[in-house]
């Protein structure tokens, strides 16, 4: 399950406790301790709906609704919460400069007739990028480095990262090309390391974002559209 979500839930429960919500204490107890299968772990004041033998919807006085899955010891927030969580998460990626406007462009091109557009384009980008990073690594490993070749690969990576809005990867490529022009092997190797880090970073973030979207859809919700200005 999505660990960051789990910690946020604990934090939300802690805040509810601080606000005097006694039910939050019950919830907290069951999030943190293993729940025996046979036992119904929560009192009727909390329980609003049993989804199935494994999951139930619980509501705190503050209005927050949680879905507790007993067997997996997981907690997930109700769809509205998940949608808000997704928006906050996406916003944070923009704030940190990991994604730029171009990603929003891609999201705007997604609709009911093209529901997987963003995932498809980003998957292409992952494939492309990993191949290019391998090619660049190999090219820099040669006895006599062919910088024209390296530059061509970096140019391509810059293009595809720009197309999906992977800003830090794109910026790394821009810097890399300077080292290529100078035929600087050490500088290029350092740059390559940097770009690899940025690439895996954005890859992890985007995969987490897509997982969040999948959870929302699986819970019967729709993926909220980001607004252009925030």
């Amino acid at each position: 399950m999505f660990h960051q979500l789990f910690h946020d839930v604990l934090e939300t429960v802690r805040c509810s406790l601080a606000d005097g919500d006694a039910d939050a204490l019950v919830l907290k107890k069951h999030i943190q301790n293993p729940i025996p299968k046979s036992q119904k772990p929560w009192d009727s004041a909390l329980l609003i709906q049993s989804i199935n033998s494994h999951s139930s919807l619980l509501k705190l006085k503050s209005g927050l609704v949680f879905c507790l899955c007993r067997e997996e010891q997981t907690v997930s927030m109700e769809v509205g919460q998940m949608q808000r969580r997704l928006i906050e998460y996406t916003k944070s990626l923009f704030m940190e400069g990991i994604l730029d406007d171009q990603f929003l462009q891609l999201q705007q091109l997604q609709d009911e007739s093209n529901p997987d557009f963003v995932v498809e384009v980003v998957s292409l980008f992952f494939q492309d990028a990993e191949k290019l990073l391998n090619d660049i690594t190999r090219a820099l490993d040669q006895q006599s480095v062919d910088f024209t070749k390296v530059d061509a690969h970096v140019h391509q990576l810059k293009g595809s990262s720009a197309s999906v809005g992977a800003q830090r990867v794109k910026n790394g490529c821009i810097a890399f090309r300077n080292f290529c022009e100078e035929q600087n092997v050490d500088g290029s190797l350092r740059c390559l390391q940097q770009i690899k880090q940025e690439y895996y970073h954005v890859k992890n973030k985007l995969e987490a974002l897509f997982r969040l979207e999948q959870q929302i859809v699986a819970a019967g919700g729709s993926v909220p559209m980001m607004e252009l200005s925030f």
Binding site: L109, V121, L124, K158, G159, S160, S163
Partner: protein, 147 residues
């Protein structure tokens, strides 16, 4: 949203500020050709055009662009990438113009060094990649259907 003659809502017409009588009305809808070797760009440009209601085809390099015209097809708009294998955008643009093709050709590239040569080859417009809806709309404002 403006409604086209078929009664369907047409976001494209609205977005280019088209009024009731416009050369962009159906039955002759705008057609486009995407010329780009990169699969990510192909996908994005195709979808950008689709989203604006523009029927479009995608080819992978300059030579395929020439071939598709030789087969008798014609397009209102050609989005031409510059750096492509087999035949690049500059050469393809030159050849298309030499063939008498007067379609709107918009160069789409990141290579600012070759921009002037690209324009000289016969472009009507040039946009930096990545292409966005608003860049595409600004290109489309210049499309003339009657050639």
């Amino acid at each position: 949203m403006l409604k086209s003659k078929t009664g369907m809502e047409d976001g494209f017409l609205s977005s280019v500020g088209a009024g009731d009588s416009t050369m962009l009305e159906p039955p002759t809808k705008i057609t486009a050709l995407v010329v780009d070797d990169d699969t990510i760009n192909q996908m994005i440009h195709h979808r950008l055009l689709d989203n604006l209601g523009i029927r479009n085809q995608v080819v992978r390099n300059g030579k395929e662009a020439i071939d598709v015209h030789c087969s008798g097809k014609n397009f209102d708009l050609i989005l031409m990438d510059m750096e492509m294998p087999v035949m690049n955008g500059i050469e393809a643009t030159r050849q298309l113009r030499a063939m008498g093709i007067r379609s709107m050709i918009a160069g789409v590239s990141t290579n600012t060094r070759e921009r002037e040569n690209f324009m000289k080859a016969g472009l009507d417009d040039y946009q930096e990649k990545p292409l966005t809806t608003s860049k595409l709309v600004s290109i489309l404002h210049k499309v003339h259907k009657d050639g």
